[in-house]
């Protein structure tokens, strides 16, 4: 088995070379301060590219509550057991070396008038522009029984990678052979549309090897599989045949945590040995505090040239929190693309110039159907000046023809590359 060091170290020579050539000038003339809240795919990329592309002229502070970055993409492999949490964890040292001031803390308030972010510690961070990339939070009250965060110690969501991912893995390991794993999927849009189905594949892969009498029940609030439907079905009806019961239009509204029982809107009950509830989601809480949630009380509408909030100038919103353009997924890859467009635009704006009038973004999600084989979905999005939105370019994009080990290797290579691209 690949160890974390093998997994991450591959290509570190190139990384070192890159780091050396990107060392920022020690005392570049500052053109202003940007505070970035959230060090995931969006925020970390924004912090890095603001430093790189301004050649050190923008002072960047990154506020992140966790000590290190843990990737949601590939976290399904930790659930399945072929990777460990360390394999998908990367520190923030690379950003610090580039001159990003990394503060471990929780942003609790934004004063848009005074242009200040307040941390839980009481520390105040003034900014000229603010970048919010807080990912998703769960909508309170949507699933009865889950409003006390302690519920997730028994019924993990594992929709933020980290301790929750490990908890779900431990529960699966502790489950008896012949047990039932139930996963619930909220109505779209939610973070990463193929990810629940990928997770089902990973649990099936583990059960098949170690707990063959066990069963998987998928309670999907949606009418059908939300991404790569034919490809997931081919795997569920192929190597995992008979293991997975898929129940569409099953919207779970209530959970009895003590007995691990779900209740749908129609009153159907299902008891589980391991219950994995993915609740309905909205923009991260700090977006609400900053007053930038503007769509359905859930998402933040942005100007696609700059990722600037349409309701609060000076505040840019990236990644899952942004109200997506048509057919634009909520994914780590997409957040990385948002971040580069935003970083470039912020630098131009802070230098008194106009941003790129024709941005392009592309997305790819690699989903692992077992420990080695992968399927992808990809799309490319161009700015439409007339409608002021991003649109998928007609005729572009698509999916794998079938799951393959070749794409499995690309999936791992994708992770190494994008982690280096965002964290150095």
């Amino acid at each position: 088995m690949q160890t974390r060091r093998d997994f991450l170290k591959a290509g570190s020579a190139a990384g070192a070379l890159a780091a050396a050539s990107y060392a920022a000038p020690a005392r570049a003339q500052s053109v202003g301060r940007v505070v970035v809240v959230g060090g995931g795919y969006g925020g970390a990329t924004a912090a890095r590219y603001l430093r790189l592309w301004s050649e050190g002229r923008i002072e960047v502070t990154l506020v992140e509550r966790e000590p290190a970055f843990v990737s949601c993409p590939l976290s399904a492999l930790v659930v399945g057991g072929s990777k460990r949490i360390e394999d998908i964890t990367v520190g923030y040292e690379g950003l610090a070396r580039l001159g990003v001031k990394v503060i471990r803390g929780e942003a609790t308030e934004v004063d848009a008038e005074k242009k200040t972010v307040v941390l839980q510690s009481g520390q105040k961070l003034p900014y000229d522009r603010l970048v919010l990339s807080p990912g998703i939070d769960f909508i309170p009250g949507e699933v009865a029984g889950l409003d006390d965060p302690k519920a997730f110690d028994t019924v993990p969501h594992a929709w933020h990678a980290g301790p929750q991912t490990v908890l779900l893995r431990r529960q699966l390991e502790a489950m008896k052979d012949g047990g039932v794993y139930v996963i619930t999927i909220p109505l779209a849009p939610y973070r990463c549309s193929p990810a629940p189905y990928e997770r089902v594949c990973q649990v099936a892969w583990y059960f098949q090897k170690r707990k063959p009498k066990s069963k998987i029940i998928v309670l999907d609030a949606n009418e059908e599989i939300q991404a790569e439907k034919a490809l997931f079905q081919a795997v569920w009806n192929g190597p995992y045949k008979g293991m997975i019961e898929y129940r569409p239009s099953n919207d779970v509204k209530e959970v009895d945590v003590a007995t691990r029982t779900t209740v749908t809107d129609l009153g159907d009950k299902q008891q589980a040995d391991v219950l994995n509830v993915i609740p309905p989601q909205r923009a991260g809480a700090i977006a609400g505090k900053a007053g930038v949630i503007s769509v359905n009380q859930r998402w933040c509408q942005v100007d696609w040239l700059t990722l600037e909030s349409v309701v609060r100038p000076g505040i840019h919103v990236l990644g899952d929190s942004a109200f997506p353009a048509s057919v634009m997924p909520k994914s780590g890859h997409m957040a990385n693309q948002h971040a580069k467009t935003a970083a470039a635009a912020i630098i131009e704006l802070m230098s008194g110039r106009a941003p790129n009038p024709a941005p392009m973004m592309s997305n790819t999600c690699y989903s692992f159907v077992d420990d080695k084989r992968v399927i992808h979905v990809t799309s490319t999005h161009a700015y439409d000046a007339a409608e002021k939105t991003m649109k998928a370019v007609p005729g572009s994009g698509g999916t794998s023809a079938t799951a393959s080990e070749l794409e499995g290797r690309y999936g791992f290579a994708w992770a190494r590359n994008i982690w280096a691209d965002m964290l150095g």
Binding site: A10, G11, A18, M360, E407, R416, N417, A420
Partner: protein
């Protein structure tokens, strides 16, 4: 690191919108290429398992892009790129390829 207006020369036949975008954004080539960095590494300096594009001649990159477009590179030779390149015009790709050709090549890479 910075691409100057010399890229304009490559834009023969480019869509007017692209020329206009380039006139407004001196960093357009870099900003377009940045979509590729996610997989091929920042400025085309890839980690293992993906091809480095830094320092490769523009003509070579464009030839390969053409092969993805035409289907000459498909199947195992083109799992994803054929779908991705169809999202870009040739003029955009020429700018992107020009940007990569100007980056310092990775040691030991082709």
């Amino acid at each position: 690191m910075r691409l100057f207006v010399t890229g304009l020369a490559l834009c023969v036949g480019a869509h007017a919108a692209l020329a206009q975008a380039q006139a407004q954004d001196a960093n357009l080539a870099r900003n377009l290429a940045a979509a590729c960095f996610s997989c091929h590494g920042t400025d085309g300096h890839a980690q293992s398992g993906m091809a480095s594009l830094a320092g490769r001649p523009q003509a070579e990159i464009m030839r390969i892009i053409g092969e993805f477009r035409s289907g000459a590179r498909s199947g195992e030779q083109g799992t994803l790129m054929p779908q991705l390149v169809k999202g870009y015009t040739d003029a955009q790709m020429a700018l992107i390829a020009d940007y990569f050709s100007r980056q310092k090549p990775v040691q030991g890479a082709p």
